[in-house]
């Protein structure tokens, strides 16, 4: 790609490339046509590819995912946009009972190359239902792949890889980072489900994905001033998880801290902590700690900063890890 792109633009380019390279690729969703989606991720695509391939749908999420499944059965490769995280639940049955299970039900005779794009997470000062992090529901669901990019390069290439995958992929877009810019390289560099060490360190491992990677990088930066070298791992893939990379890192540093916006209770950090503890038991100087949202509905925006993990809460957890 030419130079620096925002995550939003990198996604838009990825959809364009996918529409160009495979005539069976179709986009479906609410307001994705003329409007280009409420976040403009599909901006200009209906104009260029026609409303037969960039399809504005009736206002019904179960209908969107359910008909996408039917299109996939007919040989299409639908990319579905859910307008906001909080509006995917009406489609939950189609995602969990149909999309995720169809391949197994058919003993492999049919494939479900459906990508479900969801802008997720908070920090944008929105009203209720527009700031949720529900990745755990999908990651717990066998049959789905769940990924989330943290930067423009990954946003572009991971979306293309997700669309090319013959399995259903829930693609979680860090909406509050849509306008962050970054270089988009000429090739993906990593397979879809590999984690990436975005900052090497020796004293503790910060594990994050999507919007929290940036927070962890800032925390690591600040920690350096306190003389602590924190390693930061961008998970990228939430299901499956690249435990090999994580295990190597945590065994090296002896400490792990998982950071996500989703509520801590049964959030992704629970699985990361449980499994890494099992794999690294004798290397741990402290338990794997978790920094995340509270067990409460996402709060009104005027207090969301207190709900969301930030640099200070991450460093507070680092202190606790060292205090053990």
């Amino acid at each position: 790609m030419a130079g620096q792109l925002s995550i939003a633009k990198a996604l838009n380019e990825a959809l364009r490339k996918s529409l160009e390279s495979d005539p069976k690729t179709v986009l479906m969703g609410e307001d994705i046509g003329k409007l280009g989606g409420v976040f403009r991720i599909t901006d200009g695509l209906q104009k260029d590819f026609g409303d037969d391939r960039v399809i504005d749908t009736p206002l019904a999420e179960s209908g969107i995912v359910g008909t996408a499944i039917g299109l996939a059965l007919r040989g299409y490769r639908p990319v579905v946009e859910i307008q906001f995280d909080g509006f995917v639940y009406p489609a939950f049955d189609q995602i969990v009972s149909q999309l995720a299970k169809m391949h197994a039900r058919a003993l492999g005779h049919v494939k479900m190359p459906v990508t479900v794009r969801i802008p997720f997470g908070g920090g944008i000062g929105a009203v209720e239902h527009h700031s949720e992090s529900h990745e755990a529901y999908f990651a717990h669901t066998a049959g789905l792949r769940v990924v989330s990019p943290s930067n423009a390069h990954d946003a572009h290439w991971m979306l293309r890889q997700a669309i090319e995958s013959d399995d259903p992929v829930v693609f979680l877009e860090p909406k509050r980072r849509y306008w962050d810019k970054g270089e988009v390289g000429e090739d993906p560099m990593l397979p879809l489900h590999a984690a990436r060490i975005v900052r090497p360190g020796t004293d503790a491992t910060l594990i994050a994905y999507g919007p929290m990677v940036k927070v962890c990088q800032e925390a690591a930066q600040a920690a350096e001033e306190d003389g602590r070298q924190l390693e930061v791992v961008d998970l990228r893939s939430l299901s499956p998880i690249d435990f090999a990379t994580l295990e190597e890192s945590v065994k090296r540093t002896g400490r792990g801290i998982v950071v996500h916006e989703a509520p801590v209770f049964l959030g992704l950090g629970a699985e990361l902590a449980a499994r890494l503890t099992e794999r690294c038991f004798y290397h741990l100087e402290a338990p794997i700690l978790r920094v995340g949202g509270y067990h409460a509905p996402y709060p009104p925006s005027r207090v969301e900063e207190s709900y969301l993990p930030d640099l200070d809460r991450v460093l507070d957890a680092v202190d606790r890890a060292f205090a053990f």
Partner: protein
């Protein structure tokens, strides 16, 4: 069987198939209207209405004040006092007409745009602004004015309304419920399930659909290929399309519908045919998807102008009256401005306050952690 027979059958059926282009097209014979855009009263055989001059003036006052409140909120959003606003501009008559048709004991289940209904239910306008300012998610007591919390997830509230109406039947009360929703919402499974439950249980609920022609950027033709009020016929209850910019017609039709419901005859679908004059919300940009000509053409149908024209033609209101309303709306604007600006930010511990109504160890633990953590900042930032 021969091809001939099937094709004949097809020809026979073809007329029965409605033309998608007709979806949402206005000025249909079945559109109930009692006040023309020019402000002239017309009669409708099924929906006669006698209103006193006082009532007419009161309705006019509602319309003007509701519009003023809405305009105030829009500018408060521009000034950064609100994070978002969903304007009802153009839909005042649909909301005031239906709101005024309700009795005190009736119950309204709104979307996020029913500011005019809230006004008629006597809900303090400032209550509506909390969620748009981001200090709460609604937070008022729905039972105080029988006005439920705003519901953002499209269609959900139609089931809550139906359940509430089922409760009214169980209580043997003669109240009724109005479930508000939009043209886009008509596609949601929940709304159609509400139609089934309400019709099967014969519940006292009026489904009030404000067809404002748009669901964000999507025209009604993307939700239905026939006029929406006809959806009711598929579930076995009456549907009526009313001129949503005609406050008198909406009042008459909704009164009839509520009476129909409360008298044990079950649900009714009212489609108020109106128009969203503004953006979907303050974050929306309608120029990307609709022609200004369309919006212009609806200006001529403005709900306030036509009632004003009527009052003037009939000499039912004088300068003093209109001036009085003007002054009153200035007052309202002022009160809203000051009220919003002085709305305090909630304490962050609000996060933990109402997750459960009964004690919950995890919430208590996280609250304690949060408070200890927050306390550690006393005396300035750490980083």
């Amino acid at each position: 069987m021969t091809v001939k027979s099937t094709s004949r059958a097809r020809k026979k059926a073809a007329p029965g198939v409605p033309d998608p282009a007709r979806a949402g097209i206005g000025a249909e014979p079945e559109l109930v209207q009692l006040l023309t855009p020019e402000g002239d009263r017309v009669e409708h055989p099924e929906f006669p209405l006698t209103v006193t001059p006082e009532e007419l003036r009161a309705l006019y006052r509602d319309l003007v004040l509701v519009r003023r409140f809405d305009a105030e909120a829009t500018s408060l959003q521009r000034q950064g006092e609100l994070g978002l606003w969903a304007s009802l501009l153009g839909q005042e008559a649909a909301q005031v007409g239906s709101g005024r048709a309700m009795r005190t004991g009736d119950y309204a289940f709104p979307t996020y745009r029913e500011h005019g209904v809230a006004w008629c239910r006597d809900v303090d306008p400032l209550n509506l602004l909390g969620m748009f300012r981001g200090v709460n998610h609604g937070g008022w007591d729905p039972n105080e004015k029988n006005f439920h919390l705003y519901t953002i997830v499209i269609g959900s509230q139609t089931l809550h309304a139906t359940g509430y109406a089922m409760g009214i039947s169980k209580d043997g009360a003669d109240d009724a419920v109005v479930a508000y929703f939009g043209d886009g919402a008509s596609s949601q499974g929940d709304v159609n399930e509400a139609f089934t439950f309400a019709s099967v249980y014969n519940s006292p609920v009026v489904f009030f659909c404000q067809n404002n022609q748009w669901a964000i950027s999507e025209p009604t033709a993307l939700q239905t290929r026939i006029p929406l009020y006809r959806r009711a016929s598929g579930f076995g209850f009456p549907g009526v399309r009313v001129d949503g910019n005609d406050v008198l017609a909406v009042l008459a039709v909704t009164r009839w519908a509520l009476d129909h419901a409360r008298s044990g005859q079950g649900p009714v679908l009212v489609e108020a045919f109106t128009y969203r004059m503004g953006a979907h919300t303050t974050s929306d940009d309608p120029t990307r998807y609709r022609q200004s000509e369309e919006t212009e053409s609806w200006k001529a149908k403005d709900p306030i102008l036509r009632l004003k024209a009527h009052l003037e033609k009939e000499g039912l209101a004088d300068e003093a009256f209109f001036a009085g309303i003007e002054a009153e709306s200035e007052q309202l604007g002022l009160r809203v401005r000051e009220g919003v600006r002085s709305m305090p930010d909630p304490d962050p511990t609000l996060i933990f306050d109402h997750v459960y109504s009964e004690q919950h160890p995890l919430v208590d633990e996280e609250r304690a952690e949060y408070e200890a953590y927050a306390a550690s900042f006393e005396g300035g930032e750490r980083h």
